[in-house]
Amino acid sequence: MAGERPSKIKLQSSDGEIFEVELDVIRQSQTIDTMLNDLGIGKDDGDEPVPLSNVNAAILKKVIQWCTYHKDDPPPPQDDDNKEKNSEDISSWDAEFLKVDQGTLFELILAANYLDIKGLLDVTCKTVANMIKGKTPEEIRKTFNIINDFTPAEEEQVRKENEWCEEK
C-alpha cells in the first residue's frame, strides 16, 4: 500500500497557490483522505494538484500548519451527544495558534468544516464558545457586531419567558 502512492500531495488554494504537503499530515482531513481512498487521486499522476475552491492561500497555510503540529495525534473520540462539551481543554499551543482576528478564526472554522478536520473544527468552535461565555447579550452583540433584530416587544417576551434562567 505504501509503495503505490507518493508520500506528498499537492493542494491548490482558491487563489491559485500550490502547497506541497506530506500525506500523513493532510490525512487528518477526512475530505482529502476520502478523495485519496475512493478516487485514487494522487496515485497515477502525482503532479496534478487537488483544487480546494473554498480555501484561500492564507488560510490553507494555517490549516497545514495546524495539521503538521497535530499529525501524530490519536483520532478524536466519538462524540457523545448527551455530554456537554468542555471548552476549557484547549491546549496552549492551539490557544496561541488561534490568537487571530475574528475574520481569520471564522475562515479557519469554515475551512475545517469543508476539509472535515474534526480536531481543528472542535478547537475553533470551542474558542468561539469561550468568546460567548460569561457575557450578557449586549456584550455578545458588541463582540461579534450582531444587530439586535428583535422588536422591543419581542425582546421583552423572550426575556420574560426565560426569566427563571437568568439567575446565575
Binding site: 495525534d73 469561550n130 461565555k133
Partner: protein, 460 residues
C-alpha cells in the same frame, strides 16, 4: 514550531475581537450546524440566556432544545432563590421540547424539591415518550406512589432515591403498574425489607440497591423467582445482607454477569458451592471483613472475571492476591488501599495478566521503580491510578520516563494516570515535559491543570 499569528494579547482560551473595518457580522454567516456545534460547547443555562442576542440565535437554540432526548433539570436551576418554582420550569421545558424525541428526564436534586405526583402527571400530559426517569422522593408516601406509578406505565429505567416514607407496600404498587422496567435503582429506603420483590416484573435486567439497611437476604429469594432475566445486582450499604445470599438466590446466581457488594460488612466469604462462569464484574470494595479465603474461592468460582474491585479489603494479604493471576481475562483491577500488599506481590501478579487495561493502586506501598516496573509489565494499560495521600513515592523522574516510554513503545496509546504530586514546582515538571515530549497522551489528573502541549498535568 512557533505558531505565526497576527494577534492581540489575551487569556489562554479566547481571543479579543478586533472590530472589522466595516463592522461586518461574520459569526452569523456561519452555517447553522456550526453555530449548533459552538452552542453545544456552552452549558444549557447559557444557551437559554443567549436566545436574547438575535433572532437567528434564538431560532437555533429553540431547535436545539426541541431535539433534546434528555433533559436534566439541574442544568437549568443551579440555586434555589425561592422565587423559582421547579415545577413551572419543568413544565416550560417539557412544552418546548419535541414530545416524540424526549426520552429521558432527570429531576433529581438536592437544591430543589419537586412533588413526584406533579412530575408524573406532567410527563403523562406533555412527554409521554419519556421512558427513563431519575427522581428524588422527598415527601413521597405509599399512597402517592400508587398515583405516581399509574401515570407512568411506560417506564423502562427508574432511579428513585430518598424516599424515607415509602415501605414495601408502596414499592409493590410501583411494580404492579410499571411492568416494563428493565433497569431500576433504589437509593435510601429505610423501611424496605424486600418482601415486595416478589411483585417485580420479569423483564427486569439490572437492579441497584443503595442503603436499604433492613433488606435481608430472603428478599433475594423472591427476586430470583420473579426475575429470571436479572443480569446485574449492585448492592451498596445493605448492612443486613450476608453469606446466605448465595444460597437463597439459587439458580439466579449462575446467570448473573455483574455482582457488587460494596460496603456490606456481613460478607466475609463466598458459599462453597458457588460457581459462575458468566460473572464478569465482581466488586466487594469497602467490605473490609473479607479475608484471604475469599480470594481463593472467587478465583475458582468466577474464572472469567473481567473486572474485579477489592478496594479497601485490607485484611487480604500480599501472598493471597497472587492467586488472582489465574484470572487471565481480567481487564480492570482495583487494589487500592490494601495496605498489606507489597511491590513483590503486585509486580508478579500484573505481569501475568495480559489483558489488563485499568489498574488502581492508590495508597499502595510502591516506589518509583516499582511503579515503572508495573507499568512496563502491562502493555495494554490505559488507566493507572496511583493516588497517594500520605507518602510521596512518585517523583518527576518517573513521570517523564512513563511518558517517554509510552511515546516510544506504545505510540498512539492513550494513557490516563491519576496521581498526586506534592511537588513544590509543578512548572518545572511541565517545562521538562515540554522539552522532552511534544505529543503525549498521558494525563496526570489532579486539580489545577497545567497544560503543556498535549499533556495535561494537574498537581496539588
Amino acid at each position: 514550531m512557533a505558531p505565526g499569528a497576527e494577534c492581540v494579547e489575551e487569556s489562554v482560551c479566547g481571543s479579543k475581537a478586533k472590530e472589522d473595518a466595516n463592522g461586518e457580522c461574520m459569526v452569523n454567516q456561519l452555517p447553522a450546524e456550526i453555530l449548533i456545534y459552538v452552542f453545544s460547547c456552552l452549558t444549557r443555562n447559557e444557551r437559554v440566556k443567549i436566545q436574547r442576542v438575535c433572532r437567528q440565535w434564538r431560532t437555533i437554540i429553540v431547535e436545539m432544545l426541541k431535539i433534546e432526548r434528555h433533559i436534566r433539570l439541574s442544568d437549568y436551576i443551579s440555586n434555589n432563590r425561592g422565587q423559582i418554582r421547579p415545577d413551572e420550569v419543568l413544565e416550560t421545558l417539557l412544552k418546548k421540547c419535541d414530545r416524540s424525541q424526549l426520552r429521558s428526564l432527570d429531576v433529581c436534586s438536592y437544591v430543589f424539591q419537586l412533588s413526584l405526583v406533579c412530575v408524573a402527571s406532567l410527563i403523562h400530559d406533555l412527554a409521554p415518550n419519556v421512558v427513563e426517569l431519575n427522581v428524588r422522593g422527598h415527601e413521597l408516601n405509599d399512597e402517592d406512589m400508587e398515583i405516581f406509578a399509574i401515570h407512568l406505565p411506560q417506564l423502562e429505567v427508574l432511579v428513585l432515591s430518598g424516599c424515607p416514607s415509602v415501605s414495601d407496600i408502596g414499592l409493590s404498587r410501583l411494580f404492579h403498574h410499571c411492568r416494563r422496567l428493565r433497569r431500576m435503582a433504589l437509593h435510601s429506603f429505610r423501611h424496605v425489607n424486600g418482601w415486595s420483590f416478589n411483585a417485580m416484573n420479569p423483564s427486569l435486567k439490572e437492579l441497584d440497591l443503595v442503603f436499604l439497611p433492613q433488606l435481608t437476604s430472603d428478599a433475594f429469594g423472591h427476586l430470583a423467582r420473579a426475575c429470571p432475566s436479572l443480569r446485574s445486582i449492585k448492592m451498596e450499604y445493605c448492612a443486613s445482607v450476608d453469606q446466605s445470599f448465595f444460597k437463597i438466590i439459587g439458580g439466579l446466581m449462575n446467570s448473573l454477569k455483574i455482582l457488587h457488594f460494596v460496603r456490606c460488612p456481613k460478607l466475609t466469604s463466598l458459599a462453597q458451592t458457588v460457581a459462575n462462569p458468566n460473572l464478569v464484574d465482581f466488586n466487594i470494595s469497602e467490605s473490609w471483613k473479607v479475608e484471604d479465603v475469599m480470594i481463593d474461592s472467587l478465583v475458582l468460582a468466577f474464572p472469567n472475571l473481567r473486572k474485579l474491585n477489592l478496594r479497601n479489603c485490607d485484611r487480604v494479604s500480599g501472598v493471597a492476591i497472587e492467586a488472582l493471576a489465574a484470572l487471565v481475562h481480567l481487564e480492570d483491577l482495583d487494589l487500592s488501599f490494601m495496605r498489606r500488599l507489597k511491590e513483590n506481590n503486585i509486580i508478579p501478579l500484573v505481569s501475568k495478566l495480559p489483558n489488563l487495561k485499568r489498574l488502581s493502586l492508590a495508597e499502595s506501598n510502591l516506589t518509583d521503580q516499582g511503579i515503572l516496573r508495573v507499568y512496563r509489565s502491562c502493555p495494554k494499560l490505559i488507566y493507572f491510578n496511583l493516588w497517594q495521600y500520605i507518602r510521596l513515592f512518585f517523583t518527576e523522574v518517573a513521570f517523564v520516563e512513563i511518558v517517554q516510554f509510552n511515546n516510544e513503545q506504545r505510540p498512539g496509546n492513550q494513557l490516563r494516570v491519576v496521581a498526586s504530586i506534592c511537588c513544590h514546582n509543578p512548572e518545572a515538571i511541565a517545562q521538562r515535559l515540554r522539552e522532552t515530549v511534544r505529543h503525549c497522551n498521558v494525563h496526570f489528573v489532579r486539580p489545577k491543570a497545567v497544560r503543556c502541549g498535549n499533556v495535561s498535568i494537574r498537581f496539588i
